[in-house]
């Protein structure tokens, strides 16, 4: 394992890169097939497979597979990838293991935007037409998330550049402020609105449609296409900002680019699937423990792992209490946390 940048003290034993990526890449179709084969309604496996190729003899099976399960499985994988890679980038940028995309205010802003849309939308915007399969609430979430990040970024930027520490603190402040506004909205909301806000906050992929999958595809192409270009810069940033600058990295530009990409990625995923906790925080940690902190691998590995965890969790959420659905965020934590704990305990330097 040779890398240009010294990665960690003590040279840990990480899993070999190629086999790891091979396994991850193999697991994605397996999980997707599982998500398509299992659901609230049990369909014959053969029919389900035929339906994938549009050849099922049963119209109902065909419709359930192609119009409900496939879009949902794909949306889960795409959103999982967006959250995974954004989490890895945020942790790298902030050099903080507790950083997750919600830290820069995206989630708090999105919740506020969505709550506002629900409370006002209850009456004033009831007649408003949704656009491209996205509801007014989703737009509210995207706008709220985006505005929060812009605000956080501006607060932390002076003529001397952007301070990551200030951004962290500003992110906390903006999240708190947005949270208090959201609480106020919940305070004045009627019983129905309140229930809707809380359901929305729990996240959900049940609104998956072909249109949303396409939006997620575009967001993924944008994010997965551009974020890995910052891998070397993120590696250099691990050494510290001035060291990175000495290595010839335009730190201000890197920060701006990363923040923009993360904001778009997380804003889109929140608009499409609500707030899904945990994936952006733990997936990068899991992958860092497995293949090491080199961002040239970590970013991709986190994207792939996110694309595995979320469809898997969503499948559980759909079938455990079928036909009732559980909030997917509950399941991502229930599957991911024990796995993470096992990895932590088995670290080579555990108990150091």
């Amino acid at each position: 394992m040779t890398t240009g940048v010294p990665l960690s003290p003590g040279g840990k034993n990480y899993a070999p890169v190629r086999p790891t990526f091979f396994v991850l890449a193999l697991l994605i179709p397996v999980v997707l097939l599982l998500a398509i084969a299992i659901g609230a309604v049990s369909l014959p496996v053969k029919d389900t497979l035929l339906a994938l190729f549009g050849a099922s003899s049963d119209a109902q099976t065909q419709a359930i597979v192609t119009r409900i399960r496939v879009p949902r499985a794909l949306l889960a994988a795409l959103v999982g990838a967006l959250l995974g890679i954004s989490g890895a980038a945020t942790q790298g940028l902030f050099r903080n293991p507790l950083a997750d995309p919600s830290l820069i205010g995206v989630t708090g802003g999105a919740v506020f935007g969505a709550s506002l849309a629900i409370v006002i939308g209850g009456s004033a915007m009831a007649g408003m037409v949704s656009f491209a399969g996205l509801s007014v609430v989703a737009f509210g979430a995207f706008l709220g998330g985006g505005l929060a990040v812009i605000l956080v970024y501006r607060l932390a930027t002076t003529v001397h550049g952007t301070s990551v520490t200030t951004m962290l603190l500003a992110g906390i402040a903006i999240t708190a402020l947005a949270g208090s506004f959201s609480n106020f909205l919940e305070f004045i909301a009627s019983n129905d609105m309140l229930r809707r806000i809380s359901l929305w906050k729990m996240g959900g992929l049940d609104g998956a449609t072909a249109a949303r999958v396409w939006i997620a595809v575009v967001a993924c192409m944008f994010t997965l296409g551009l974020l890995p270009r910052f891998a070397q810069a993120l590696n250099a940033l691990l050494l510290g900002e001035s060291e990175a600058r000495h290595l010839g990295i335009d730190v201000a530009r890197v920060k701006r680019g990363l923040i923009l990409l993360v904001a778009v990625a997380v804003g889109t995923s929140v608009a499409l699937a609500g707030t899904i906790a945990f994936v952006g925080l733990i997936v990068p940690h899991i992958m860092r423990l497995i293949i090491g902190p080199d961002h040239r691998r970590l970013l991709w590995a986190s994207a792939l792992a996110g694309a595995i965890l979320l469809p898997l969790a969503d499948t559980f959420a759909r079938v455990v209490l079928a036909p009732t659905e559980l909030p997917v965020g509950m399941i991502t934590a229930a599957i991911g946390a024990p796995f993470f704990i096992i990895l932590l305990r088995n670290r080579p330097d555990h108990g150091r």
Partner: protein
């Protein structure tokens, strides 16, 4: 000095008067004893004159009992009947001001178990208030509640007459519709997330009253988020929704994407305004009448 002495003696007189009043009351009337929906005994020495209702549906039921003039405090969204809008608001059903409640000096507080919560009940009883808690889960519960309000506010005559009328209409609807050929129904609370109600909900009672069968009556929770594919497979004969406003929710039209559903094919996707179906009050009968009519149409068309 003399004036304060004078005050004291005035106080003394008032105190004596109060004692006499109390004694005469005890002599005149038995204390009113009712059991609320949590099984708590509620005892009033005399009919309540200052009532606070901590949920919009309770306000409606107080008016149904003919005791609307006894209301001194309500919560926000208490918009029916219109007279209720003029009553002082003590806050929201989850966020009312205890100070305002104390200042209004109620002799009876009517609470909603699942809405106001246990803590609120403990708090208000600890302050010494007389509290009656409702938890209405059937159409009969509403009659029972209105009857109790009548008892507690001394409005039995009006209340009992209204209750009898309500129960009469109810049993007329029941005997007319509940034994007809069953119609499978999907009641849609909201579209995203797709939410319905299970068998514990009052709306399920209305569905049964009209001879319908809620396809998710067995679901695990009261208002479950459910999977679209299970609706497709259940293929209900009717889809009914209320939404949040007076207007038909636009998302009801989304069902057109599923023409294989018999409800969609035959145009049995219905709207019933939330105010007559989601409030636990006598107005539910209006909603029930609409729903029974809709199901009757479906049966007629099938013949």
């Amino acid at each position: 000095m003399t004036s304060s002495l004078h005050d004291l003696s005035a106080l003394h007189t008032v105190g004596m008067l109060l004692v006499i009043l109390c004694l005469s009351n005890i002599a005149r009337a038995e204390p009113i004893e009712v059991v609320d929906f949590l099984g708590r005994e509620v005892i009033l020495q005399s009919p309540a004159k200052r009532v606070i209702a901590l949920a919009p549906h309770i306000v409606e039921n107080v008016y149904s009992a003919g005791a609307g003039d006894k209301l001194v405090g309500v919560v926000s969204y208490s918009n029916f009947p219109v007279e209720a809008k003029a009553i002082p608001v003590v806050g929201g059903y989850k966020s009312y001001s205890v100070e305002t409640i104390i200042a209004l000096q109620p002799d009876l507080i009517l609470m909603w178990a699942s809405g106001n919560g246990d803590k609120a009940l403990q708090h208000l009883t600890a302050l010494g208030f007389t509290v009656y808690v409702d938890e209405l889960s059937s159409l009969e519960d509403i009659a029972h509640f209105v009857h109790d309000i009548g008892l507690m506010t001394g409005a039995e005559t009006v209340a009992n007459a209204r209750v009898d009328e309500y129960l009469h209409t109810l049993s007329a609807l029941r005997s007319k519709y509940s034994h007809r050929e069953p119609v499978s129904v999907f009641y849609q609370v909201w579209n995203e997330p797709l939410q319905t109600i299970n068998g514990e909900h009052v709306i399920n009672d209305v569905i049964n009253l009209c001879g319908g069968k809620n396809i998710f009556a067995d679901a695990a929770v009261l208002a479950p988020k459910i999977n679209l594919e299970s609706v497709i497979v259940a293929n209900p004969r009717a889809i009914v929704a209320s939404g949040m406003d007076e207007a038909r929710p636009e998302w009801l039209d989304d069902w057109r994407q599923w023409p294989q559903l018999q409800a969609v094919q035959r145009g049995h996707v219905y709207f019933i305004p939330p105010d007559v179906l989601q409030r636990h009050s006598f107005r539910l009968l209006e909603g029930a009448q609409q729903m029974c009519q809709q199901f009757a149409n479906i049966r007629r068309q099938a013949e």
